[in-house]
């Protein structure tokens, strides 16, 4: 039985921008349909239109029927009825989606009390049993708590319970796990699958993560720029994509289990890095970056001190790439910030190119530090100064470290931009006119301008779409090859680390729990936490077959 039937849906803004262009899809009861696409593809908008949540003044054509009700022609009363009993939605960020000033109990019972006119006692009981069914540890206590007292994963479970209070026929999930850690994500996905099965609901699952879609969806709809480019059985779409866009998307998506052709080889003039690194051996003579027993604690007033990094030691040979993998709170970013000198370590030492890294006091020390290590930050929208053009930003860095003439600096700016695949046009662009990928490439060019010994990349591609991520990773790989750059690559994404790094360390609550060659770690993890991380990464059941297909 078809629950949701969208046919030829178009949506235009009053200014004429077409955001959806003839979208058609169906969801049957008990079925999970994945809506997959990159940012700006229109997937969130499609989902919202099912609930009548449209931008003001938007013009729609086509048809959208839920449970036989035509949503686009529905009266205000019908829309309320639809939201109250037919469909519910789970949003991306539970921290933003639950009113911070009301209790969890209020969030859960509000719909029951106000919309279903259920007496308070009954509503409380219903909320309690729902909290239990989504796997929260202390339901009675949670009802009285405020959102800030719960973790992100717990809040997302609350959000799910809240969406289920109305016993919907269709559950719409808009990137429900994007804001969460991978191990937390696995739990949320399990709860969703369990509830869908138990209630026989239809589910429309929106995600940018192809592997996630493949792991839980029966059918998949691929959206690009407001159009459906491909749809069909999930397995079919993933194994034999027809549309060129889907093919590109799949190619750009890093996976855990399929070792790709490594684009990066170690630089030819440094063959030493090709040898299997001795994991716990004494420091190699040519270690470019060496970290010994680094520790850092955060002290907050009235609270227990938090150990952000505990006795971390590792080294990266000249020209090597080390991945640091961990979830939020693992201390991986603190580690990066200590290495580049943004935070002072409590104990331990950092050596770069055999020079001890200490607090910079004089101008000369500061500049020497900057030349030894540079960093690319996570959010390209925030790491460029909004007022300074891309070219000017790079030129500033060049001039600080090198007092050559203006003309020479300009020429080198263009050369650097060229290296990351950008041109003169981009040199004059304000950061806000550049796309996320372009910004991140500017950030890389700026870091390279100083010709550092080591480049630290802190989640440098996690805010980017997969296709853009692939481009940026390709740039990094090429530069490593050409310059013999040493890279410390920090990421929560095991698949990306596999693509970039020969060596990997796994961090958990500040400590390194496992280290070794990336492939060995991913294929034969020793530490239980590493195993948990790897097992939590979503993957389709037919994944093994994929590597066999041409």
């Amino acid at each position: 039985m078809t629950l949701l039937d969208i046919s030829q849906l178009t949506l235009d803004l009053p200014d004429g921008t077409r955001l959806l262009d003839g979208v058609s899809l169906t969801v049957a009861a008990g079925e999970t349909v994945g809506l997959v696409g990159e940012s700006g593809s229109g997937k969130s908008l499609t989902a919202r239109s099912v609930l009548g949540l449209l931008p003001s003044g938007a013009v729609t054509t086509g048809s959208l029927r839920l449970d036989g009700l035509s949503v686009l022609d529905a009266t205000a009363g019908q829309v309320l009825e639809l939201r109250r009993s037919r469909a519910s939605m789970i949003f991306q960020d539970p921290r933003a989606g639950i009113n911070p000033m009301r209790t969890i109990g209020d969030h859960l019972t509000e719909g029951l009390r106000l919309c279903q006119r259920m007496p308070n006692g009954e509503a409380q009981a219903a909320a309690l049993s729902l909290l239990e069914s989504v796997g929260l540890p202390r339901p009675a206590e949670h009802l009285r708590q405020y959102p800030h007292e719960l973790s992100g994963g717990m809040l997302q479970r609350v959000m799910i319970a809240g969406a289920l209070t109305s016993s919907p026929h269709l559950l719409i999930c808009d990137e429900p796990t994007t804001a969460l850690d991978v191990t937390t994500q696995a739990g949320i996905i399990a709860v969703l699958a369990e509830q869908r099965a138990a209630r026989g609901m239809g589910m429309l699952f929106i995600t940018h993560d192809l592997n996630l879609a493949a792991s839980i969806c029966d059918r998949v709809v691929v959206l690009s720029a407001g159009r459906v480019v491909e749809q069909g059985d999930a397995r079919e779409v993933f194994l034999h994509p027809h549309a060129e866009y889907t093919q590109r998307l799949l190619a750009a998506t890093p996976t855990l289990s399929r070792p790709r052709e490594r684009v990066v080889a170690a630089p030819s003039d440094a063959p030493a890095t090709l040898a299997p690194p001795a994991v716990l051996a004494p420091p190699a003579a040519d270690a470019m970056l060496s970290v010994r027993s680094l520790s850092k604690e955060y002290h907050r007033r009235g609270k227990e001190p938090v150990a952000a990094v505990v006795e971390a030691s590792f080294e990266i040979p000249r020209g090597g790439a080390l991945g640091v993998v961990g979830e939020s709170g693992s201390g991986k970013s603190t580690l990066a910030r200590m290495i580049v000198g943004l935070e002072r370590a409590d104990a331990g030492d950092i050596r770069i190119a055999d020079r001890e890294r200490t607090a910079a006091r004089t101008r000369a020390e500061r500049l020497a530090h900057a030349r030894s290590v540079q960093m690319v930050f996570q959010d390209p929208y925030l790491s460029l100064d909004p007022r300074i053009t891309a070219g000017h930003a790079i030129e500033d860095a060049l001039r600080l470290h090198d007092s050559r003439g203006t003309a020479d600096a300009r020429a080198r700016v263009l050369a650097l931009l060229d290296q990351v695949g950008l041109g003169e046009r981009h040199a004059q662009a304000q950061p806000r006119t550049l796309s996320g990928g372009q910004r991140q490439r500017v950030a890389i060019a700026r870091a390279l301008a100083i010709e550092p010994d080591v480049l630290v990349m802190d989640e440098a591609t996690s805010a980017l779409d997969v296709s853009v991520q692939a481009q940026v990773l390709a740039v990094v790989e090429r530069i490593r090859r050409e310059r013999g750059l040493t890279v410390l690559f920090i990421s929560h994404d095991l698949a990306v680390v596999r693509r970039v790094c020969e060596q990997t360390v796994v961090m958990k609550t500040g400590a390194i729990v496992e280290r070794g060659r990336t492939e060995e770690i991913l294929d034969a993890p020793q530490h239980p936490y590493t195993r948990l991380l790897i097992d939590s990464v979503p993957r389709p059941e037919w994944e093994g077959e994929r590597s066999a297909t041409p």
Partner: protein, 285 residues
């Protein structure tokens, strides 16, 4: 995560901006500024010249906006009055902005105990409304505008400082500042050459709005008889002098300066709000 396109589209309240208001306000301000600067050439009469034949006269070709209770030309007095009305708030705004930005930058960038001490001082000054500080200054140093202008410069500085501090504190944690540090730039350079210019537009918009408040408050002071003293032409003082006639129905000598105050304050507020809207939109994008 940056919000997706869908969310941004859904949430953007589309308020059509009309530049007409902005332009009209700029014209109003320009007219009053020109009037104030060139008052000696534009005013038909000397502001203190008494026309005994036309006392409390209505508008005529002789006196376009009539005369007051002693027969002085209202238009001329309004033009001359614009001088103190515009210059005094300008002095207050400029000096409080300079002082406030310096203190706010230091507090926000340095943080720590210095921030705490400055914050406590601001809190104490906040407890004294600016008009009250101005009145106290008059009580201490006598009537006139000099003491109130200095007092209000001090009274407004903490507002600017607190705004600057909060903006600088927010900027300081942004990755672009960390990026400058990693590149080897000194803290002083980043604060003064990069962070300060980034927050200046917002402070400028706020100071523009302050101009309106200060103008109204200084005019109020003269209205109370504590600011500009007779016979000097000033909008607040003119209204004060015209109060007696008001009961008898001679509204013009009071209404003309009142309209002038309202027009200038509206114009300044429209410009200030428009500026802060435009800037606000530009930064968050």
């Amino acid at each position: 995560m940056t919000p997706t396109v869908a969310i941004r589209v859904l949430r953007a309240p589309r308020v059509p901006r009309s530049s007409t208001w902005f332009l009209a306000s700029a014209v109003v301000l320009a007219v009053f500024t020109v009037g104030a600067v060139f008052a000696p050439f534009l005013a038909p009469y000397d502001p203190d010249q008494v026309d005994l034949l036309n006392i409390q006269a209505g508008p005529s070709t002789l006196h376009w906006l009539g005369t007051d209770s002693v027969g002085r030309d209202t238009l001329s007095r309004m033009l001359y009055g614009a001088r103190t009305a515009l210059l005094a708030p300008l002095l207050v705004v400029v000096s409080s902005t300079i002082l406030g930005v310096l203190l706010g930058l230091v507090a926000g960038w340095r943080g720590g105990w210095l921030d705490a001490v400055l914050g406590r001082i601001f809190d104490v000054v906040f407890a004294f409304p600016s008009l009250l500080i101005a009145i106290m200054a008059v009580a201490l140093f006598g009537k006139g505008l000099v003491a109130p202008v200095i007092a209000m410069s001090i009274a407004y500085a903490p507002f600017v400082a607190r705004l600057t501090r909060s903006l600088v504190t927010a900027e300081r944690t942004r990755p672009y500042v960390a990026a400058y540090r990693v590149q080897g730039f000194s803290g002083a350079w980043i604060a003064s050459r990069r962070v300060l210019p980034n927050v200046t537009p917002i402070i400028g918009a706020q100071s523009t709005l302050n101009f309106g408040y200060v103008l109204a408050e200084l005019a109020a002071l003269s209205f109370l008889g504590l600011g500009v003293q007779a016979p000097t032409a000033d909008w607040g003082a003119m209204i004060n002098e015209a109060q007696a006639g008001l009961i008898g129905g001679y509204v013009l000598p009071a209404i003309v300066p009142a309209v002038a105050v309202v027009l200038v304050v509206v114009a300044v507020n429209v410009i200030g709000e428009e500026l802060s809207d435009r800037i606000g939109g530009g930064i968050s994008a």
